[in-house]
């Protein structure tokens, strides 16, 4: 095959077919559009909309206008610019955390199901423990001590922490799938063909896990956005202006004291809510893109 034809068949299999399947369900399509808009905004937005964080005392809490489409905050700064610039960190942390979650859950689930025996017992007890420990309170206390320790709290570290509280469900699901698939005749055939353990795990078992992995990727990015903005709203992560969670924190602080404009409460809230709705809608159909029956149509 020529390079061009290869690229074409790659795009057809990995872009065109999944999109065609997603577009069949209105909910997934709406979700896809919402998430795409957020991603495009996060990439292009900061280049177009400048962020000016210098306080303008005379312009504080101004309602939406042509000059400030979403009004101004307690220091007279443009809320719209902050919303635009607040997107990239939230998306970065969410997708990184989802990636770590999927990695942890898949590795532990496959190891537990494939190796079995004592390894399975230990890993699954561990999984059960993490399934029961409430995630957000655990994150809270880790964040408190992390703040105290003065360690640099970078986005990958936050993402890793978020993934610690969310891998267990996926690990359980993957384990029971591996246990079922391990006994399938086609695995025996592949073993007879001598294709080796690497092939069995990555080329035979893993493709069967893709629907679970995809769904859990979406669900854990939803969970990560909740936890990340929540920790910021509690002031448990280093404050950075123009971050949606930090904006919620300030909006809440002003609501309880000297009062604030509805737009300052609504802007970050809606930014988070709409993104979450988009992800939930998208996740409702994401497993279908791996369904061979639908792929073949």
């Amino acid at each position: 095959m020529s390079k061009g034809a290869k690229l074409k068949s790659f795009l057809y299999e990995h872009i065109y077919i999944p999109l065609r399947i997603l577009a069949k369900s209105k909910t997934s399509l709406v979700g896809l559009i919402i998430v795409s808009v957020y991603v495009v905004m996060a990439i292009v937005g900061p280049m177009i909309v400048p962020l000016d964080l210098t306080p303008h005392r005379e312009k504080r809490f101004m309602p939406p206008s042509l000059e400030h489409p979403l009004g101004t905050d307690f220091a007279g700064r443009d809320i719209f610019a902050q919303i635009v610039h607040g997107g990239p960190p939230v998306l970065r942390v969410a997708f990184l955390a989802a990636f770590f979650t999927v990695l942890l859950g898949t590795v532990i689930g496959i190891a537990s199901g494939y190796i079995g025996g004592k390894v399975d017992l230990v890993l699954m007890s561990f999984t059960d423990i993490f399934l029961t420990i409430p995630g957000f309170p655990l994150l809270m206390i880790i964040a408190v001590w992390l703040m105290q320790s003065r360690l640099p709290v970078t986005e990958p570290i936050v993402a890793l922490l978020l993934s610690i509280t969310s891998w267990a469900g996926l690990a359980r699901a993957i384990r029971s799938q591996v246990l079922a698939i391990k006994k399938e005749p086609y695995i025996e055939v592949v073993k007879c063909l001598g294709l080796g353990r690497f092939h069995v795990i990555f080329k035979e078992i893993l493709p069967n896990m893709m629907p679970y992995i995809a769904i859990n990727f979406m669900l854990s990015s939803i969970g990560a956005i909740y936890a990340y903005t929540g920790l910021l709203a509690l002031g448990l992560l280093p404050y950075s202006p123009g971050n949606w969670g930090a904006m919620i924190h300030m909006a809440q602080a002003y609501t309880g004291t000297i009062g604030t404009g509805w737009w300052y409460v609504l802007a970050p809230s809606m930014a988070i809510i709409i993104l979450q709705i988009g992800l939930v809608f998208l996740s409702s159909g994401i497993d279908k893109i791996f369904n061979p029956r639908l792929r073949e149509e």
Binding site: E188, V189, L193, G194, L195, K203, P207, P292
Partner: protein
């Protein structure tokens, strides 16, 4: 002719109902079985479900390790093979499973399941050649045009088509020995002969040795007409010999009962077949098999010795039978 694969005094014990607080039980799925299959030979292995015939097949393929005894490939113990020799054995012992719908990975297209073994054993030097070879294989099992099947998934193919692909994959690495485990029992009756003929043609062409596992004597008779048939009961081979001999003149009482159980289209003929009646219809449990001959609880000819002594396979009238009657 040399023996390709051989089971020598092989026993497989499985634990059942395992738990921390409950007592472990064991079943002897295969009990001191010896069986050799020669180059280019077809052996049909017949028995009721749960008699250990699939376990024996898996033992011969090296998929499970025997508890006792040895599996020899070309005279060497397969569990002590290393490196190149092991790879050589792996390539030469293949499986065609029972259910065509689970013989192939449902999440992968057909082509991606055919090419990896071709590339692994250097049967094809590159991807392009592997694709070409895969097409030839599909043609060989009667799937034309082969390109139509490459990008398909199992969910849209029929049982017959899937079984053909499964066969194509098994022969793709040119094995010396194939275990076909109930390879046609899940197919429509009308398709069975067709698939059996494909297997027989390929067998003649490549001179492969076959262990053909089935519960259906008629199919064994058709497929192993030029080979041998072995009858298995509760983990033991009770009779083995030339297929026509075994079926026409069964010696072991269990074989006689099995053959009697095959329905005959002519009711008069069926009434005339004056074969012995079973003493009990209940199959004894594998966890607690009866002492002596395992068939003694049901055998119409059982005597005292049958409850005491395990019969060994002995040569009787040109075949091997494990029964105190002879």
């Amino acid at each position: 002719m040399s023996v390709t694969i051989e089971a020598r005094e092989v026993t497989k014990i499985f634990p059942v109902a395992k738990g921390i607080f409950s007592k472990k039980h064991y079943i002897r799925a295969v009990d001191r079985v010896s069986l050799g299959i020669r180059e280019n030979e077809i052996v049909a292995l017949v028995g009721e479900s749960g008699c250990g015939k699939s376990t024996l097949g898996r033992l011969l393929l090296g998929l499970i390790k025997p508890t006792e005894g040895k599996i020899l490939y070309m005279g060497k113990d397969i569990w002590s093979l290393k490196g190149r020799e092991y790879e050589e054995f792996r390539r030469n012992a293949q499986l065609i499973p029972q259910d065509p719908y689970s013989a192939l990975n449902p999440m992968k297209n057909i082509l991606s399941q055919l090419t990896p073994p071709l590339l692994k054993y250097k049967i094809a030097r590159n991807r392009k050649e592997a694709v070409k070879r895969a097409a030839e294989l599909l043609e060989l099992v009667g799937l034309v045009p082969p390109e139509d099947f490459f990008k398909r998934f199992t969910c849209r193919l029929s049982g017959g088509q899937l079984q053909r692909i499964s066969i194509a994959r098994a022969i793709s690495v040119q094995p010396k020995f194939i275990v076909a485990d109930e390879a046609v029992s899940m197919l429509d009756a009308s398709l069975r002969i067709e698939i059996l003929d494909i297997l027989l043609n390929l067998q003649r062409k490549f001179k492969t040795a076959y262990l053909f596992i089935t519960h259906d004597l008629a199919i064994a008779r058709y497929f192993a007409r030029e080979g041998r048939t072995a009858i298995m009961y509760l983990g033991n081979i009770v009779e083995i010999g030339e297929t026509e001999n075994v079926i026409q003149k069964p010696l072991h009482p269990y074989t006689q009962v099995l053959i009697q159980a095959v329905p005959v289209p002519d009711p008069d003929l069926a009434a005339k077949r004056g074969l012995p009646k079973l003493r009990s219809l209940e199959i004894p449990s594998l966890i607690n098999p009866p002492p002596g001959c395992k068939f003694n609880t049901r055998c119409p000819y059982a005597e005292k010795i049958c409850e005491e002594k395990v019969p060994e396979l002995r040569e009787v009238k040109g075949r091997l039978v494990a029964c105190h009657l002879y």
